[in-house]
Symmetry: C2
Subunit: 140 residues, 2 copies
Amino acid sequence: MIKKDNDVRTSIQLISVPHYVDERGDLTVVEEVVPFDISRVFAVRAMKGAVRGKHAHKKCSQFMVCVSGSIQVVCYDGVNESTYLLDRPSVGINVPPGVWAQETYEENGSILMVFCDYPYVADDYINDINDFREYKRNME
Amino acid sequence: MIKKDNDVRTSIQLISVPHYVDERGDLTVVEEVVPFDISRVFAVRAMKGAVRGKHAHKKCSQFMVCVSGSIQVVCYDGVNESTYLLDRPSVGINVPPGVWAQETYEENGSILMVFCDYPYVADDYINDINDFREYKRNME
């Protein structure tokens, strides 16, 4: 198997989210940097140590912003694995389809906002890592 | 001036947001209940006692969900005032155009997610309460 260095890096983008701070608090404007029309939005809140995600999407892109706390995101494209820390609202990560992602909540009550370009479809999820590896192999 | 009781209540809707809790944390699915296509999204985080908003929109509707902490929302349609407490992710409030809204953050780090049906346009804001009252009088 040929090592495809940079695959994850080039397909997964960390994107700065406009973020304005004043004495009243802070404002994060998300939609300007989401690289698609938003069809689905959900918020996940979890306790420290919770591990979520652990699936890939066939078609759906996901743009993730941690609006409170700190969340580690591990992305795996079938060959390379990359780790990102979302610890402020001013940075988001674009996870394209065909990438396995796992999120670890590093602080109690950390909140991940997820914006998607497709509505929820159960068949779009690949929930088993071996199925994912086979899916990627078949796409080569 | 005729008192238009129920005006605020009938135009402003509290809406249940699908919310799923398990041992890992909780998931709030917003887009299913937002009564419009989402054009703009922003998150506001503020310290206890912060008062934000204090404006009305001419065209833009806003759907607000408090994903962390507790936020009091006061809505004023030019005649009636109503107060709502958003203290869980499972309820949102739809604030239609032509309603003055003010949000008071009741806990440190409370987070309000706001979904809008229009992009940001400065001219859509009415930031002065007297201008708002005049705007509403002119619409009668």
